[in-house]
Symmetry: C2
């Protein structure tokens, strides 16, 4: 029997590492995909590669995509600071259309390798208010995926899988611990240093720290 294949978007963070472990546990041959989109630090790309290796991805690819030339986010424009306290509404760390761009490229790779499943670690509970993390967004993209592609025309459905979408950060951590994910390899911080040490102050750090506390799991994060 032919192995079923999945593209798994991995950022180097906690959520996508958990998703990769879940996809592996579900029996998929995993093709992990990261983006060098001009983010503030390289630590997350290193974390993504390392996590993919440890969790047994069949192949790991880093696609270069210059989102810095578009800007519009604290993560892709050095003139916009990463906020260190909670803000109202959609925060400045929102990267315009990032999930759409990443899912689109994942869709292209899925066609090339013959994968009919794309996993993404979006989450609509302990999240940052990003519009492209909502269930209705994922559904709409799945519809695009099935109209856009050769596979869709040939009647093979592509599924966009977002298994974390309804989980709390603590639940995600518990799920990952059950699957043996080593979270010390992951980097969630928006402004980690070159060594991968976290600031402990940005929203991503705050959500992560609270998640470990709520899950009753010692926080393995290296703070600087």
């Amino acid at each position: 029997m032919q192995e079923k294949k999945a593209i798994v978007l991995v950022s180097g963070g906690l959520d996508s590492a958990t998703v990769l472990a879940m996809a592996k546990a579900a029996g998929f041959g995993c093709y992990s995909l990261s983006f060098d989109y001009g983010q503030r630090h390289r630590a997350e790309l290193n974390a993504a590669r390392h996590t993919a290796e440890v969790l047994g991805a069949s192949e790991h690819k880093v696609v270069t995509l210059d989102l810095r030339s578009i800007g519009g986010s604290a993560l892709t424009d050095d003139n916009i600071a990463v906020p260190e306290r909670e803000t109202e509404g959609i925060p400045v760390t929102y990267v315009p259309a990032r999930n759409t761009v990443m899912l689109a490229i994942a869709l292209g790779w899925a066609e090339v390798v013959g994968a009919r499943d794309i996993f993404i670690g979006v989450n609509a509970v302990d999240y940052s208010g990003y519009p492209d993390c909502r269930p209705e967004y994922i559904e709409a993209f799945e519809k695009v995926a099935n109209l856009a592609t050769r596979a869709g025309v040939e009647g093979q459905r592509t599924h966009i899988r977002a298994p974390l979408i309804a989980l709390s950060k603590a639940d995600i951590i518990r799920r990952g611990m059950d699957l043996g994910v080593d979270y010390s390899l992951t980097v969630s911080c928006y402004q980690a240093n070159q060594a991968g040490e976290a600031c402990g102050k940005c929203e991503s750090c705050r959500l992560r720290r609270a998640g470990f506390a709520e899950a009753g799991v010692p926080d393995p994060t290296r703070y600087c």
Copy 2:
């Protein structure tokens, strides 16, 4: 009154040059966007820049995106030859998920500049059987655009405009001639040489040549 802005995808070819002229004629301040995605030749990027300048785009941006690392198309993989006669079904020049990737990046730029309209030169008549050129695909992507973005959350609709979708190649050429488009600047060939001269044999050349003939307009293409 504030100028209404549009992102216009320009490839350097005949169709997107016509779309840019149509968007200008409709009163939009046009932000033209091209992709250096590892295509076979640079002539189309030069043609895109030149066309954008002549047609009065407010800004022209080239985003680098390495689709060659994914491959899967005669346009992004040197091991797959561009066919020089008609083929059955979706041809090997189809680049997996290309329009989805390009529309996604256009959507990101639209958010940054505050554009609510994105123009794309897809065509479902004299086209090559690409699935991502169909009206139902464009509709589905528009839905994604409105769920994905900050603007959508704030109740501002984004429109994906595909004004050529129901036109024949001859009609497109007639429309462009009325708007003063200089088609000698455009390059449609899948395998043009460095000087921008067309092969005259690939499907894109064949459709273009037939379009000029049907429109009764002298073909300004430089063939090699």
